[in-house]
Amino acid sequence: MRYLRAFVFFCLLPSAFCLSLGRAAAGEVVKLLPGAFTLAGSLARQSLVLETYSDTGATGQIADGVSFSTSDPAIVKIEGGVAVPVADGKATITATAGERSATAEVTVVDMEKLFAWSFRNHVESVISKSGCNSGACHGALAGKKGFKLSLGAFDPLADYFYITRQARSRRVVLSDPGRSLVLLKPTATVPHKGGLRFRVGTPEYRVFSEWIAAGAHGPKDDDPRLARLEILPDASVLKPGAKQQLIVRAYFSDGRAEDVTRWVRFTSTNESVAGVDAAGLVEVAGHGEAAIKAWYLSGNVIATVSVAYERAVSPEVFANAPRRNFIDELVLAKLKNLNLPPSPPAGDAEFFRRAYIDTIGLLPTVEETRAFLVDEAPDKRDKLIDHLLARPEFVDYWAYKWSDLLLVNSDRLKPAAMWSYYHWIRNNVAANTPWDKFARQLVTATGSTLENGAANFYVLHQDPPALAETVSVAFLGMSINCAKCHNHPLEKWTNDQYYGMANLFARVRAKEAAGDGNSVVYPVTRGEWIQPRTGKAQPPRPLDGEAVPFESEVDRRVVLADWLTSPDNPYFSRAITNRIWANFFGVGLVESVDDLRLTNPPSNAELFDAASGYLVEHGYDVKALMRVILQSATYATGSQPLAENVDDGRFYSRYYPRRMMAEVLLDALSQVSGVPTTFSGYAPGTRALELPDVSVDSYFLKTFGRPLRAITCECERNAQPSMVQVLHLSNGDTINEKLRAKGNRLDGMLSDGKSNDAIIEEAYLAALSRYPTEPEKAKLLAELDDSKVERRELVEDLYWSILSSREFLFNH
């Protein structure tokens, strides 16, 4: 009879308190965007936005009642809020709204120069903007109705071929451009299954028709290439209901800049905060932060929109909040921006347990907890942090994490090789090898897979595309897989860059050596990986790095490693920073941790920069980063939400409770019960976190989301709760068998003749790392005094209640 099992309640109760003070209005200025620009050629246009700014940045567009004037209408004129060139020269445009006004400097050039639309830059952007080359339309692998376009225009040569040549040039009529099918269909002049895409006479129509009229010239090698995109304003703090027009300018390799807002495809990453329409008009819907992604040609750029919570929070809340290091400054700045007050700091017990679980994957022992709680040294938390970072279990925990990342797995490696790989990871953790050296050793691994465990990376991943993808995910936190078939729609990576990256691995070979699972990995000096689109070798090149000459005999992986681990490579330091951050905060600065796309911005960009910068400054010493995180006041924030921050899940106004990961949870159950879990084939007493391999059979670990280590992806670890988990905790054999086992902690307490008081205290300290509160104790004592039930059973029930509680299962 487990009748006791419902009486202990462990919930994280929100403490209700609230401050209600208004936010002072900051000194506001207005700016005309863009502040200075060039209009090149008679067809150039530039839309204008009058924007208000506070000391922290853009705060909203003044849309109504704005009047424009120009200093020289003979140079530039304004038509419907758009600057239109008249003649070469310079002028100033002034926008006025009420008493506020702002100016923009305009330079007009090339008015006399004949302008020609470029297929690569203009026509393709019209096709993309109109959606013709989307995956659902002609961008589908098989095209539509015999007409095929490259997805997102990643292959202009192929598109040009389809539009102008394929099927006997049925789609363009050079002598009578208006009769071209390629115009008749999108204007729905003839029936078009895809519907009306643009109307006759629109700028889209004009670009397309004038390009045909000019001879329908194809893409040329010396076409100007998109160099970068600029979005204005790139960050703004808006109010609910506000509207904000965005401007996107494209900078080309020939120095030209154009207002391409019209051709940009906009999407919002968080519609519940802000939506965006096709023209780039943002409309605020809720609170928090959203990123607006602008995609033009092969480029992406984002603008962040922050919408502060409309709660009256005193500035003192932020001013008085504890600060220890730069993390806290930047977190508080963000919280202040969003008007999200931080929760009060965590108590010693809460912090103690949290730091153990996050740093070494263990619960503190009863003795450790007691000692920490009575310790009155002011620096005891710092001492604890240093202690944890030096613990041998730190090595177990982080070796396990990196083994997840690097797929240590005896399903895919022979046992000796698997162990060798694991030892390599483990020894590097134990040596606290800087992350750049670690990555370099792995990526450039040569030699026997048994002598150099890192070489197994090249056994797990063999073909160059797989290697390129895996290195990108593992060390750049980016999936480049999409670019295998077409330009990445959400990222800047192109199909060519993908194969350039892949070709860095074309000269890795493995040959067999004596011993089971022993092969020798080594670079050769010849061999290329063919880019299937062109049938030729793609110049080997680390994503956006410099290409290696084909004839170079250097191990291309060394070139990759140089690029990868360069302090100038932002992706590398960010990826590992984000992984470590997510370990301690539960939520990465970028979510998910291996989706570090440009178009998936961090929740706190300054903090992300600072944290990854900190890692670089400290020579990629991951422990240094862990230390600064653990020491931060942010990490020590309480997990109890306030009414004002209960909605926050990204900005670290509080510590987000989360279920312990499967292995940690199982070890915790073993530790609390005093009954180790046995794993077939491993020494008795081996903890789950000491397993090198995920092919060890364990129903518990499987149920609680242990990854398969089949593909490099954080998504392999399933943190989702499930009914099976609940049932297993309640009625499954893991907890119940441990509680029933002979010689367990309960036995020890009972046979030592401990009082109920002591038993309750021990259970709390062991499982929750805190003393029971008086009311809890009183209630439990009453229950334990039940003389009708055997004492052992009562104590088992007590433990069961605690071990199945959220307070135990969660790190908080």
């Binding site: 162990w419 134990a430 002598e451 493995a510 050769v524 250097v554 020494a683």
Partner: protein, 1183 residues
């Protein structure tokens, strides 16, 4: 008499001690120390808890004060008024001790008096154990043979427990060697038995008149488990209840006690016998206990209640023994009236329900013991007439009497299988008899001692080390010997039969190395165990030392011996080191026969991993060196790569600034001269060079001084047969290439560099146009860690094209990746490929040998050595990923203008990483043909870019000497009327790739063989069949010698013939269960056509399904349409038609093929001629 003497001495001594105590002034006598011993000595014999003479018990303070029948004996504070003093001093009656008894001395009485006067204070704490008796040690004269007082077979019958005074000897059967002694016990063991599972041994005994006890021992480790103490006299019987929960004991103190076997507490005492209870027996159901007593009765007791159920009163004298039959229905007892009586026992065993069945006069003397066999059919009894008798237990008729015993045999046991009777006698002797024949079972010759292992196998020279050896049959060991005369060894102690402590002292000048140690007993010598002598201190690990914090402190210059005893075991050793020291950690594991795949990891004091090593130079024992950056404490950790562990996972770890040579340079020396070679390693003298005298050829050991250097394995150099020279650095660029006059061998070394491609060594040689050269390295095969990659380059360093391979068909590796060895690869597009085409696999060139044989199989490539795939143009076999592109390619001469096929063209350059024929491991071999007169370069480097002092190689440049040899396998058992296949394999040397024709002649009468047999160009093997006619006779060895086989081939323009060893051991065996024929006797097929043939069998006992293959078809000719399972003939059938198809490209040829079945030992058909002919009428007919 001797016993009495002891008691006297004891009394004297204790009296003296008491007197001395009493002499201590000014303090009241202590009860425990001074008073109680006096009572113990003079009074307690009668005034004890059992006897209670006069109701007075003087054993304890409380009962002493309580007084006896006449009231208090002590009046505290008043000795004079105390009755105790009065009776002692004779002032009260009766005077005590009784007449004729020794009386206390005056001092003792004074002590008692002063104790009473001081208030008669009670004991201060627990008194001394009253069962402990102190006696003087008196040495017996001559050998003593303590009686065998009880015997017990272990439940598995493989061992025997022999109880004697103070000890139980546990001996292995049949050799009767001592496994262990259980003891010491106090007093004689009167009963011994094993628990049902054999895990515990129960021994009951005690000291007569003092106490009785049962000791339970763990058989496995000889450790005491539990002691049952509570009887006041020695025990005579003890039995565990059948369920093991209760222990019953009986004692001379007349009591029977039932104990909880787990808690050791007395459950109940069964009182009722009026004399010693000599024997006990549980009924097999555990409910009833039988007892036999000196009170002339046997009784039955209800175990659950302690109620006495039955008393058998028929015996006329004392009973000594009682036993239940295994079925529980009878109980037998024997004793001083010379009879054995058998009663029938009812289920409830209630009084008067258990009638006497037999009463047999058994011995001419008291029956001292009787036992039932496990099957209940036999009983054995022993009598004081020195006879032992074997009875039919069911009828109680005598079956046989054993030989007259040398003494009484109170110890009897029957082996669990009932075959052996063990008899132990009062004279200490022991005999085993065959229960059926009564013959004595001879003692096997005493077993030789066996040594299990040496715990620390290393000893330090110049010091004495104590070693605890374990093993078997060590009890009689008389000598321990080491294999070096200067290693002194002596025995310190023998610990039963399984342990031995010895002392080993190698003299200071005993060279470091491996020696042997063994022990000897009169029975012989043990096996020799390895003993390592080292000048370093030799220590052993001490568990627990898994965690860094638990590391065993270890001296820096020492060897520590450890065992990874269990799964997951890790051993840590801590030591102090100083900055700048070059530490070397040298492990011996596999080299000393360990199973451990050892890994070493070095940590600093903060637990940071500093360095690790798994394998060193291809050997699996690690060697780690580390230059200490800072003074401090370090920890070296040893573990198994896979965290395995067992007692066999042992190792030696030597650490310190050890001088370890690791390599020699160069790897070869010229013949017939003395050459100086360089030795590299750790902590070696600067520029260590050694002179090596070389003879004409072979290998020479490099002479190194083992006293100053730690040599892991002997360093060897090969004696070269070409002019030898050495590279001279710098030679890293074409301009600095070292000129060599070819043919020659040059020694070189790949230095360690920071560069990614490592060191390059260039050599220059001159060649005429069209001249061919074999360029090869000998390095990894000589233990060098280098993995050479060689190239022949133009004089300016540019690569030279060897061949252009133009892709004509594209494909991909599919289904699964392939490693660098397999010949079997799934390819897309394979239907469009042909045999003998070259396949370009990402730098590697292979040749198609056999097409997929069905939908679920791959293409087979041509075979090199060792079953690995052969690579062409000296390319190297590597692993290939799924999806990896590959191409069927066509060869073109370098410089050919090619018309594009739309597929790539791959130039192959003169380069070799690993020998393409797969003969040289990771060493390289290249065949180079000079395209023009002039100078060429050879570049040597490490394919992985590794390098270092040890990375030596020999590079040879020499003209090819194409040659071949042919070997045979198979054809050793030919069945009459059937054939046996054999394989001819050609070993191709230096590029010889043409066909080889083998002729066989001189066969004995009645035998036929396929001849000629042709190994086709490029192939390794061909198959033939040796066929015996049904009436063939086993040929004589002489006749077999007449068979000659020769292989002939054309090398260059010369015909070369080589003899083949074959058919020397042909054995004729009887007609098999299947006879196979392939018909017709001559087949012809046109290229591209299919013909039919028939396989017929004569079934001769095998009626089941038969599977066939047809062997030795011309390459490109296959048995077609065979489906997934091959050619099968269903059960009972005797004929099957097959289809034979020749590929269109197959040239005209004639060959001998045969059919083979796969069910009864690969019986073959006689050889059948198959022709491939373009327009053969036979081919037409076959269609």
């Amino acid at each position: 008499m001797r016993i009495a003497f002891c008691i006297l001495i004891a009394a004297f001594l204790s009296t003296l001690a008491a007197a001395l105590e009493a002499a201590q002034p000014a303090s009241a006598p202590d009860f425990n120390k001074q008073v109680a011993p006096i009572f113990q000595t003079y009074c307690v014999g009668c005034h004890n808890g059992q006897d209670k003479e006069g109701e007075l018990v003087l054993e304890h303070y409380a009962t002493l004060l309580a007084g006896g029948a006449k009231g208090a004996v002590i009046v505290p504070g008043k000795a004079d008024e105390s009755r105790l003093i009065q009776v002692l001093t004779g002032t009260a009656e009766p005077s005590m001790p009784p007449e004729d008894n020794e009386k206390p001395t005056a001092e003792e009485i004074a002590t008692l008096a002063s104790w009473i006067n001081a208030g008669a204070k009670g004991p201060d704490g627990a008194g001394p154990d009253p069962t402990v008796i102190v006696t003087p040690k008196i040495k017996p004269h001559g050998d003593v043979h303590e009686a065998v007082s009880a015997l017990a077979f272990s439940p598995d019958g493989k061992s025997l427990a022999v109880a004697r005074y103070g000890t139980v000897e546990w001996m292995a059967l049949p050799e009767r060697s001592l496994l262990r002694r259980f003891g010491p016990h106090r007093g004689r063991i009167n009963a011994v038995s094993f628990s049902k599972d054999g895990a515990r041994l129960l021994a009951a005994g005690g000291e007569p008149g003092v106490f009785g006890e049962v000791r339970l021992w763990n058989v496995a480790d000889g450790k005491p488990d539990r002691t049952f103490k509570g009887h006041d006299d020695s025990l005579y019987a003890a039995a565990l209840s059948p369920d093991g929960k209760l222990l019953a004991t009986s004692s001379y103190d007349q009591q029977i006690k039932l104990w909880d076997a787990v808690s050791g507490k007395v459950v109940r005492t069964l009182s009722g016998h009026n004399d010693a209870v000599f024997d006990l027996a549980f009924r097999p159901d555990g409910k009833i206990l039988a007892s036999a007593s000196g009170d002339r009765t046997a009784k039955l007791w209800d175990v659950a209640t302690g109620e006495r159920l039955e008393t058998f009163g028929q015996p006329t004298k004392e009973l000594y023994c009682v036993a239940f039959s295994p079925d529980g229905k009878r109980v037998a007892a024997g004793g001083v009236d010379n009879r054995i009586r058998v009663w029938q026992v009812s289920e409830a065993a209630k009084e008067n329900t258990n009638p006497l069945r037999y009463s047999r006069f058994a011995h001419e003397g008291a029956v001292v013991n009787l036992v039932f066999s496990a099957d209940g059919k036999t009983m054995v009894s022993a009598g004081e007439d020195r006879t032992v008798k074997i009875w039919d237990a069911e009828t109680m008729t005598e079956r046989l009497a054993l030989e007259r015993q040398s003494d009484w045999a109170p110890a009897l046991a029957i082996s669990p299988d009932g075959n052996t009777v063990a008899v132990g006698r009062l004279d200490g002797s022991l005999a085993l008899y065959n229960a059926a024949s009564g013959e004595i079972v001879p003692t096997p010759p005493p077993p030789k001692p066996e040594l299990a292992s040496l715990p620390v196998r290393g000893v330090q020279s110049g010091t004495t080390t104590r070693l605890k050896l374990s093993g078997k049959h060590l009890a009689e060991v008389t000598a321990v010997t080491a294999s070096h005369e200067k290693i002194a060894a002596k025995i310190l102690a023998v610990d039963g039969g399984t342990g031995l402590e010895v002392e080993v002292t190698p003299a200071a000048d005993v060279p470091r190395g491996r020696y042997e140690l063994w022990v000897a007993s009169p029975a012989g010598e043990s096996g020799h165990k390895r003993l390592y002598v080292d000048e370093l201190a030799q220590t052993a690990e001490a568990e627990p030392n898994d965690a860094l914090a638990q590391a065993n402190p270890t001296s820096r210059e020492s060897s520590v011996w450890g065992v990874l005893g269990t799964k997951g075991d890790v051993d840590s050793f801590a030591f102090d080191a100083k900055a700048g020291q070059h530490l070397v950690f040298d492990v011996s594991a596999t080299t000393i026969g360990s199973k451990a795949n050892l890994v070493l990891t070095l940590f600093d004091a903060a637990g940071r991993a500093l360095a690790d090593n798994n394998d060193f130079g291809g050997a699996s024992d690690p060697l780690l060196d580390y230059i200490v950056p800072a003074d401090g404490r370090y920890v070296i950790q040893a573990s198994d790569l896979m965290l395995e562990g067992s007692p066999d996972h042992d190792y030696r770890l030597s650490l310190g600034e050890l001088s370890v040579p690791t390599a020699v340079y160069p790897l070869s020396v010229p013949a017939n001269t003395e050459t100086q070679v360089e030795v590299t390693g750790y902590n070696l003298p600067e520029n260590l060079k050694v002179k090596v005298p070389a003879a004409a050829g072979g290998e020479v050991n490099v002479p190194l001084d083992p006293r100053t250097l730690r040599i892991r394995q002997p360093l060897k150099v090969v004696v070269g047969n070409l002019p030898e020279s050495l590279e001279a650095e710098p030679n890293d660029a074409p301009e600095t290439a070292a000129p060599i006059a070819v043919p020659a061998t040059v020694g070189g070394r790949i230095r360690g560099t920071d560069g990614a491609t490592g060191d390059n060594d260039y050599f220059r040689f001159e060649s005429k146009q069209g001249q061919s050269w074999i360029v090869e390295t000998d390095a990894a095969r000589r233990g060098s860690p280098v993995d050479t990659l060689i190239e022949v380059l133009a004089a300016d360093g540019q690569p030279i094209e060897r061949v252009l391979l133009q892709a004509v068909r594209d494909s991909n590796v599919t289904f699964r990746p392939i490693d660098g060895n397999t010949r079997d690869c799934r390819l897309t597009n394979w239907e469009e490929m042909q045999l003998n085409q070259l396949l370009y696999l990402n730098g590697e060139v292979v040749k198609l040998f056999r097409a997929p044989q069905g939908p679920d199989s791959g293409f087979l490539f041509y075979e090199g050595d060792g079953g690995k795939r052969m690579c062409y143009f000296d390319t190297t076999a590597t692993a290939h990923a799924v999806e990896e592109p590959c191409f069927i390619v066509r060869e073109h001469a370098p410089g050919t203008k090619l018309i594009s096929t739309g597929l790539p063209v791959f130039p192959v350059y003169y380069a070799s990483d690993d020998d393409g024929r797969r003969r040289l491991g990771s060493d390289s071999r290249l065949t180079f043909t000079a395209p023009a007169d002039g100078a060429y370069l050879v570049r040597v480097r490490d394919s992985r870019g590794h390098g270092g002092d040890r990375f030596s190689y020999r590079l040879s440049i020499r003209p090819p000497e194409p040659d071949f040899s042919v070997s045979t396998s198979g054809a050793d058992q030919v069945a009459a009327g059937s054939g046996d296949e054999f394989t001819l394999s050609v070993d191709r040397i230096d590029g010889f790739d043409d066909e080889v024709r083998i002729e066989i002649s001189g066969l004995p009468e009645g035998f036929r063989v396929s001849t000629p047999i042709v190994i086709q160009a490029g192939h390794r093997d061909a198959k033939g069949v040796l066929f015996a006619e049904p009436d063939a006779k086993q040929p004589s060895a002489e006749a077999l010698k007449q068979i000659t086989a020769t292989a002939t081939a054309t090398i260059g323009d010369k015909e070369v013939t080589r003899p083949i060893k074959a058919f020397e051991n042909v054995k004729l065996v009887p007609k098999p269960k299947l006879l196979v024929r392939l018909e017709p006797a001559e087949l012809a097929v046109a290229p591209g056509a299919t013909i039919t043939a028939t396989i017929k069998v004569q079934r001769n006992g095998h009626d089941d399904l038969v599977k066939f293959t047809v062997e030795n078809l011309p390459h490109g000719v296959i048995v077609d349409n065979i489906g997934l399972s091959g050619v099968m003939m269903p059960k009972g059938e005797t004929e099957r038609q097959i289809f034979i198809t020749a590929d269109a490209w197959v040239p005209e040829t004639t060959r001998l093929c045969f059919a083979v079945e796969d069910q009864v030992g690969r019986q073959c058909s006689p050889p059948v001629v198959i022709h491939v002919r373009k327009d053969s009428p036979l081919a037409e007919a076959g269609k």
